[in-house]
């Protein structure tokens, strides 16, 4: 996993979102949203339901093309590219409602996550060249290491659908880590978790950050968000309402009134 700690590359922006707008029919989901993500940080996006957070994720991941604006990842424009290209460039994601491969084991889920970092195709799978066996072996070792990293070492051979919900969340993060991303997009990873699991999640995200992975986090759990984020972007009705450190956001009058519905 590449380590690009902030100390080594000061001021480096891993991603710049510039003036992104997106409308669905008459609904303006995002309106001229701009922000930058510092490498090695946890950057949170918060806002009430319908603020445009999920749309933002889908645009970054290539699921939607923006109506206008640019998404720049490591100096390259990525808006409108195919999802699999974006993943192989080093961005990965998890879903708000956990989307695992239910009939596959936990280990296999993580192995599928390594898809873009392996290259065996139809013919080589049948031929089983020596390099294919090597690749498979290395992929398994890596997958086991990642399972261990998220604390699921012992569950490797259980079908993912049989795991408790909290573990499924962690497994999905493991799968997203398997593509060796430099930027991870996590869509409400704490939802459905109990207090203990949320605590563990917070620790895991800090560990991931320490491995040099930048995180873009959408989350409703405010105490978690405030505790681990470096910056917070507040979206409201598709617009950027405020941005700043957790302390600044907590003290921001506009944010408070938007959340309490007194705009």
């Amino acid at each position: 996993m590449s380590i690009s700690s902030p100390e080594e590359k000061p001021f480096q922006k891993v991603m710049k979102v510039e003036g992104v707008s997106k409308a669905f029919g008459g609904i303006q989901a995002l309106q001229d949203v701009s922000f930058q993500i510092e490498a090695g940080h946890i950057h949170a996006v918060i806002g009430p339901n319908g603020a445009g957070k999920t749309t933002l994720f889908n645009i970054i991941m290539g699921a939607y093309a923006p109506d206008s604006g640019r998404v720049i990842y490591k100096e390259k424009e990525i808006q409108g590219r195919k999802v699999h290209e974006i993943v192989s460039m080093g961005i990965s994601r998890t879903f708000q409602n956990v989307e695992l491969f239910g009939s596959l084991t936990a280990l296999e889920n993580v192995l599928v996550g390594r898809h873009v970092r392996t290259r065996c195709g139809f013919l080589s799978a049948v031929a089983r060249w020596p390099w294919v066996k090597e690749e498979e072996k290395a992929a398994r070792e890596k997958a086991l290491e990642i399972l261990d990293f998220v604390g699921l070492k012992k569950t490797g051979h259980s079908r993912s659908v049989d795991l408790p919900f909290g573990w499924q969340r962690f497994l999905e993060i493991a799968r997203a880590l398997a593509s060796e991303p430099q930027l991870m997009l996590l869509d409400e990873p704490a939802s459905g978790l109990n207090a203990v699991e949320t605590q563990q999640l917070g620790e895991l995200l800090i560990h991931i950050k320490e491995r040099g992975v930048t995180i873009l986090l959408v989350e409703h759990d405010m105490s978690l968000t405030m505790a681990i984020s470096n910056e917070i972007l507040v979206l409201h009705q598709g617009r950027r309402l405020a941005e700043g450190s957790p302390r600044e956001i907590q003290d921001n009058e506009t944010v408070i009134s938007a959340y309490l519905g007194k705009v």
Partner: protein
């Protein structure tokens, strides 16, 4: 490895024991149907893409090779690679637009494709012989051996089934196999982890199509006459039934499904005009009581009895 040796032993033993030409031909047809079910199982059972037009590839394989050997006097062995490549290209061209669909719409699309191909066989009389089909297709020969009657075609077909099993098992137990199964579980998530889902779907569709073309080639040169009815919509449904009854996402299930669907009509002849009713009834009963298919269902029953014998009082897991 152990399973493969047993498989070979069973094939060789069956070829030695069975001498009745009718039974041998029936067993050979089971092999051909297994190839069809195996190809569709990769598309449907593993990758989760329904296809109701699989018989079209079976027919295209049979007709392409027959026409090349009858009209151009090609040797069947020369026609074989050409047939596989040609049907592979057709499958590719069909898959490109078709696999943008999903669910029922994909079912409808593939069904329409199957119909179109069937009507081409039926209506392009100058080329395909229309309703009466093609006769005088040269049988496969290799030196002094002819693969038309007796044990030779049996061994040839089952040898190919054996190889196809190995190919499929290797595919399934690989990066590609995992990607296919992930597609089956959640296409959204599979795309999100970086799998080029449209490309993978096209690839597996072509794979299934080529395997069906191989089955068509074997069928045409063994029976030496073909007509459109063999490759109609009902055949497509029959292949789907083989996969579902045998067991989705199970290589061995394809074999059991193909065997059952080939043998059932034979056994049910005694019921004369009630044949179709009994046939339907058996399929309904299997689907109700063994919804995972025969293979999984029988294994479950076996494991159930095995565990009950060990620990009688324990009836539920914690």
């Amino acid at each position: 490895m152990y399973k493969r040796l047993v498989f070979i032993a069973v094939i060789v033993l069956t070829g030695q024991v069975v001498s009745n030409p009718y039974d041998l031909q029936l067993l050979t047809f089971i092999g051909i149907n297994t190839l069809l079910a195996l190809g569709l199982n990769m598309v449907m059972g593993y990758a989760g893409q329904i296809s109701l037009g699989h018989a079209a590839f079976f027919g295209l394989g049979a007709y392409t090779s027959s026409l090349l050997t009858i009209h151009l006097d090609w040797s069947p062995w020369l026609a074989l690679p050409f047939t596989l490549v040609f049907v592979g290209i057709v499958a590719f061209l069909v898959a490109l637009p078709m696999l943008r669909l999903s669910g029922y719409y994909l079912g409808m699309g593939t069904l329409a494709f199957g119909m179109i191909v069937f009507f081409i066989f039926l209506q392009w009389r100058s080329l395909t012989g229309g309703d009466s089909g093609l006769i005088g297709i040269p049988p496969l020969t290799l030196g002094p051996i002819s693969f038309e009657f007796g044990a030779a075609p049996f061994y040839l077909v089952w040898g190919i089934v054996f190889l196809s099993f190995i190919v499929c098992e290797r595919l399934i137990d690989s990066r590609i196999g995992r990607a296919l199964r992930s597609l089956h579980d959640s296409e959204r998530a599979s795309a999100a982890v970086g799998i080029n889902t449209s490309r993978l779907k096209v690839q597996v569709f072509v794979f299934g199509g080529v395997l069906a073309a191989l089955a068509g080639f074997l069928y045409a040169h063994m029976v030496t006459f073909i007509s459109p009815q063999t490759f109609d919509f009902l055949m497509s449904v029959k292949i789907v039934t083989m996969v579902v009854i045998g067991g989705m996402a199970s290589v061995w299930g394809s074999l059991f499904g193909a065997a059952l669907l080939t043998l059932l009509p034979e056994w049910l002849h005694v019921f004369a005009e009630y044949e179709m009713i009994i046939y339907g009834l058996i399929l309904v009963v299997i689907m109700i009581f063994l919804p995972q298919g025969l293979t999984r269902g029988l294994l479950d029953i076996y494991e159930h009895f095995k565990s009950r014998r060990k620990t009688l009082p324990k009836s539920h897991e914690g």
